[in-house]
Symmetry: C2
Subunit: 304 residues, 2 copies
């Protein structure tokens, strides 16, 4: 399994019978990432019995309430649970100013730190990096500064073929060079080409999260060839004008982006409360792009 994505909420700003506001728990490279945190996110995680021992990093796309009102509750609960690992929040700088007084008041004596990392949603930049992956901000088109996020596994070194080690009596010291693509020279001076010694590591997994945004084909080069694209799909064709006015997308527009980007798979969400039959989103998206999944709250999708 390359990654696992749990939809904690895929509704839009107005709460509905079936959808909570935005929240996703992404698990890849043995780490967990929370993407957006609408009201009720912690309750849903508890209902799903999500373990969050490896969740150190939270990414907030923008500061509309349906994407961040759940933060204070989650941070407060972690305080009560005597969490000790620090939490890093990547968001527009206003969030720190808004949230800090609440943390100071409601989370006194907390045994961990909340560390804010101000990001500029208007910039396309690497905002997080560790040994195995990077997260890049994807400037979107919305009524307040907003960015999506590209989670990108780093390319692993080539895998050495075990039999080749025996055949050519390769010493341990030579292996890092070979993994990095180098050839091997045997003790009798023969050159063994790297292609005989190694195989390509599997393609790095890439997940793009794009919510909230009007139709913006300019993001396509940044997400070209992603394995999975989550793209907001607030409206159906019927409300195309509303999509333009409020800087959201229709399901069809989401699918057009997926097609242009040659995405492996499209997940759609952020559904407007106006649309009662959500299968219309799926139908309209599928007219543009085949591999579409209509997100459901409290559902985990695995990517292998």
């Amino acid at each position: 399994m390359k990654a696992k994505l749990t939809i904690l909420g895929c509704g839009s700003a107005m709460p509905t019978m079936q959808n909570n506001p935005s929240g996703q728990l992404l698990e890849m490279c043995d780490k967990q990432f929370l993407i957006d945190c609408g009201e009720g996110t912690q309750n849903t995680m508890r209902q799903l019995a999500c373990k969050t021992a490896r969740l150190y990093n939270i990414f907030i796309s923008h500061l509309h309430g349906d994407h961040c009102f759940g933060l204070i509750g989650l941070l407060s609960t972690w305080g009560m649970m005597n969490r000790t690992q620090d939490v890093h929040i990547y968001a527009h700088s206003d969030l720190e100013r808004l949230l800090s007084p609440l943390i100071a008041y409601h989370c006194q004596g907390m045994s961990y730190q909340v560390i804010f990392h101000a990001i500029d949603p208007k910039k396309h930049a690497v905002i997080y990096e560790d040994r195995t992956l990077t997260v890049t901000s994807l400037p979107l088109r919305h009524s307040v500064p907003t960015c999506g996020f590209l989670f990108e596994e780093k390319r692993k070194e080539r895998h050495i073929i075990k039999e080749a080690i025996d055949t050519y009596q390769i010493p341990l010291a030579a292996i890092p060079d070979i993994k990095a693509g180098g050839d091997f020279i045997t003790s009798d001076g023969r050159v063994v080409h790297n292609a005989e010694l190694t195989v390509e590591a599997k393609e790095p997994f890439r997940y793009a999260y794009c919510s909230d945004t009007g139709y913006k084909p300019a993001i396509v080069p940044w997400i070209q060839g992603v394995d999975v694209l989550y793209h907001e799909s607030t409206y159906t064709d019927e409300h195309k004008d509303a999509a333009e006015r409020f800087q959201h997308s229709t399901a069809r527009q989401a699918a057009k982006i997926a097609k242009k980007a040659n995405a492996g798979q499209l997940l759609i969400g952020h559904f407007s409360a106006r649309v009662i039959d959500q299968h219309i989103f799926l139908k309209e998206a599928k007219e543009e792009f085949d591999n579409v999944t209509l997100c459901r709250d409290k559902t985990t999708y695995t990517f292998s």
Copy 2:
């Protein structure tokens, strides 16, 4: 029906599979009152399709997150719905300081006002009054300033017996005096005693909400004879020490208060996540007081 109470959440601070944090929608005297507003309160109201057209007043018992983190989401949603009626929030003065910056940032251009009424949770005082009812604060015993609320219908005037109007030829102008308890003097000078002309109006309905609090018998005189008492019941006998340490009550203690106050009915809630089988709360409470109801989230109780 005298009143209707919808439990939006009756869990305690830690979210659980079965309970949301505190929130209640009380309907009496043709008005609606929101009592506490933990995270997810608005989502639950939406799931239950609660109409809130007559909800103008919100009462917050104290500023622990599980009693107030849902406010900003609710206020923001009302803004998006173009609500025009003002909302009055009765709470400790710190709430205004904490919430105002969030309202200013997240609810720009809102078409209604949020009006804060600072209450002193340490005082037993009438904090709200209108033509038909009063709300009185009930100082409780907790780790931060906390009060419960007594919702009390005003006593109505005596009902005039229709037949008496014909029998004694009572003119319209004399009726207010008679309703207020006065006798009637006929045109030939005969005194008709009020008891012949009127009947007592039904007893005013009284609802007391007491959460969060350690065992505090001193509240009994304030809630003597209430029709319905909601009393927190965070722990069972097994965790009696925790109840004392964290200034909460056991189910048994809640029932003792109900018994001393001669309450008509006891509702228990604010259940700790530690207790898996909630029937233990009911069992232990019933050993002290017979008419106990174990609250359930998303359930409406009617009182007639």
